[in-house]
Symmetry: C2
Subunit: 479 residues, 2 copies
């Protein structure tokens, strides 16, 4: 198993081969670096390729494993990191021009955890400038292209992280999600992305966007691989004020449990909030979504309608909180106004708008956030998760400003954020999995789960992936 075959293997699969020394981490990293060299110029997924570091880490992993010390399923696995996650000694641009040469002294908490797990760092991936946008059209570092069609965007802000994984240029990556920035590119690139519960994964060492909505989480090609990553990066961190001390289960092992044949989801109830999650959705996307709903019913889940009127507040509340907190965070970091001239006009405008937000409006938004949390908490007494499309459209072309859905014009930004923001506001976990294709482009299905119940959420998503093959489809990129 070499080359393209190897590049699209799952971590779950590779881990066994590495442990039993049938695959060498050194060969693996060489194969991946060759792919990156070949494909990254057109995809612009990576901003920085850490080839020498990756080779050294792979050699160290190989030596350790030879000595009988296998650290676990990430040992020797090449992964990528979104470039707003600080890496000690490796430049971390956050997608900003004036940080092109910024080399942090220390690793972010998640980076240290991944290193302890034995992962190999291939490089740092492209993102929307400061993660403050959803298209990864980065005026300083280029537009990340969608592996399914390089004339389409990968989505954002973790666009490079998603494209790298989708194109077989990394086995997994870690991104950030403030309003959908993991799930949006996961959906548009046909991979699996998880925004964990707020407080589950440390934000320490990650360039903040809007601290009360920021989340760090994994992107991979399957739920199993996402579970492996989550197990490595989750855990309490004293240095992150938002971090919560909660037991971390072995999320991957939890997926391997009893699956009653045919109806593995019997006894689970899934909610549909039609008033919100089905308004203004591109018809082919809606078709894939409904087929997925049917699939969940076939798997034994009970699909019921739920009433969540407060979802309608998410857009305005999310915008107000993001605007204010992002400007505050940029001021705190000394980025703005010191480097105002080096920002793209788009992001600078948002930072300037954030300075105008009044505290009373921010407090109104926070109150709406609380009300949404309460409403969801009540619904989650009855249902185990909500089903929704991740985004209402397939990947747009670069430069697209607006889309027309159900006869209504909407900005691409608003359209891509719409179904994602509620779980950033609520802080509950949400995962996007591929659920079909429209116009030859991937469609994403979103499962929104109960606080701290990532294991349950991943079990639902895994059952779906076992029954379907969408996540195993490969982009035509290097066919």
């Amino acid at each position: 198993m070499r080359g393209r075959e190897l590049a699209f293997s799952s971590i779950a699969e590779l881990a066994g081969l590495i442990r039993s020394r049938r695959v060498s981490p050194v060969e693996l990293v060489e194969a991946m670096l060759a792919r990156v060299e070949h494909l990254n110029p057109q995809l612009q997924a990576y901003l920085t390729v850490t080839g020498e570091l990756a080779r050294a880490q792979a050699r160290a992993a190989e030596a350790e494993i030879r000595r009988g010390r296998w650290r676990g399923p990430l040992h020797g696995i090449p992964i990528a990191l979104k470039d707003n996650i600080q890496t000690g000694g490796i430049r971390t641009t956050a997608g900003a021009r004036f940080l092109a040469e910024f080399v942090p002294a220390e690793d972010a908490a998640v980076v240290a955890r991944l290193q302890r797990a034995g992962a190999v760092l291939l490089g740092k991936t492209n993102l929307h400038e400061f993660a403050y946008g959803v298209t990864t059209e980065n005026p300083h570092y280029g537009t990340t292209r969608n592996p399914w069609d390089v004339h389409r965007i990968a989505g954002g802000s973790s666009g490079g992280a998603a494209a790298a994984v989708a194109a077989g240029l990394a086995f997994a990556s870690v991104g950030t999600d403030t309003g959908g920035s993991i799930r949006i590119p996961a959906a548009l690139c046909g991979i699996t992305g998880l925004k964990p519960t707020y407080g589950r994964v440390s934000l320490w060492g990650v360039v903040p966007l809007a601290p009360s909505l920021d989340h760090v989480g994994p992107l991979a090609r399957s739920v199993e691989d996402v579970a492996i990553l989550l197990g490595a990066i989750a855990g309490w961190d004293r240095r992150d004020p938002a971090s919560v001390r909660r037991p971390v289960s072995d999320f991957y092992a939890a997926l391997q449990g009893r699956q009653s044949r045919g109806k593995p989801l019997r006894g689970l109830r899934l909610g549909l909030a039609r008033n919100f999650f089905l308004a203004q959705v591109q018809s082919e996307v809606a078709q894939s979504f409904w087929a997925a709903v049917e699939q969940f019913a076939k798997l034994g889940a009970d699909v019921v309608d739920v009433h969540l009127p407060r979802l309608a507040d998410a857009e305005e509340a999310g915008t107000t909180i993001s605007l204010a907190e992002a400007t505050w965070a940029h001021q705190q970091a000394g980025y703005f106004p010191a480097h105002a001239e080096a920002y793209s006009a788009e992001v600078r405008k948002r930072i300037e708008l954030g300075a105008e937000v009044r505290a009373v409006d921010y407090l109104v938004a926070r109150e709406r956030q609380r009300q949404l949390q309460n409403e969801l908490a009540e619904v989650f007494v009855r249902v185990h998760a909500l089903l929704a499309p991740t985004v209402p459209v397939v990947a747009p072309r670069p430069g697209t400003q607006v889309v027309v859905l159900a006869g209504r014009e909407e900005t691409v930004r608003t359209a891509l954020l719409r179904f994602n923001r509620p779980s950033n506001l609520a802080g509950c976990p949400a995962v996007s999995v591929p659920c079909g294709f429209a116009e030859g482009l991937p469609v994403g299905l979103q499962l929104v789960g109960r606080w701290w119940e990532e294991a349950e959420l991943l079990r639902l998503a895994h059952a779906y992936q076992q029954a379907t093959g969408f996540h195993r489809q490969r982009p035509p990129l290097d066919a």
Copy 2:
């Protein structure tokens, strides 16, 4: 024991007499109502006297106790409530003109708890309009007078609650404290007042001032009586989003424990933050404070210097948070701008200022609050409590705008809030106890304790009261 003697008895003492039927709750309430009728016209402590209700509650208590059902130390004890605490069927003005006829449908959570404890409600006490000020010079309902000198203010915002207790017009009262509103009038009136840990006592049914800084707490003449009240009002409440589920100990019983003779505080360490709590203090106040420090040392406590540079941020951060949240709360409640014309110019101005606060400045203030919390948490590893003056001055005369301290002019408002705000921002408990007299007026000592350690804090304060007699001094009012 009748009349004045009875009126100044402690709850701890009276409880035994009521339980053994040597004191009748009905006689007790009559004696108190007679005192209120006699003294309230000059003090303006009560806004509403609930004579008929009090008599009915006293009769019910007496009947219950006769039947052998004694509810505990508050059974049959006449108390008062600050008039921003909602009482079902009894008008609750919040000190505002346009709420003069407002009769809530339901009791606040603390009122329901006090009723379950068998307390008798004498009435609702005067406050600074909307609790938004520290002098209780209320243009709509009059200025509450200090029982030690009716030509002085009682302080605020819980001015009526403190004056009533100090003058023997109630055995205890419940007030609110957003920046010092329990401790300031407790200090100026020579009584004991506790701001509990944030989240300890439900805010449900209390007119909000600045929700993230608001606290409900007891005022009484001794630490023992404060402990009895706290035991009755503390406890988790689902309806208050700030409420925290924590075990409620019997705070009163905890005071009766082992007291090693002579050195009851041996092994306890108390911190002095000289950089902050001793700057700009009236010299006679400082003298009383230092005598108290000496007293604590005599009781066996180890008094050490602590470094808390972040205390200096408390004033600005507290002002910003209060301004923004108060305006938001008044807008939410529908008070402002609907009734803008009915506000005093002073409070209306603050509400208008609050509308101008920018979200980024609010977020900066919240960040400073977190930093102060962290700094205090580190100090509280080493010390059990901090010692400070409650306020740097004795009670000013009505109409006083500025005081001059150490040659620097300062508004009365700023001076009275200065030492109190830090524990509202931090959320840690703080108690004020009388520690002497200056110009014939009471001086208050403040003990700031560890989060959730009210029992420890009260034990310290109780040991001090057992060794000194300041809390037993009575105002010359009806001598």
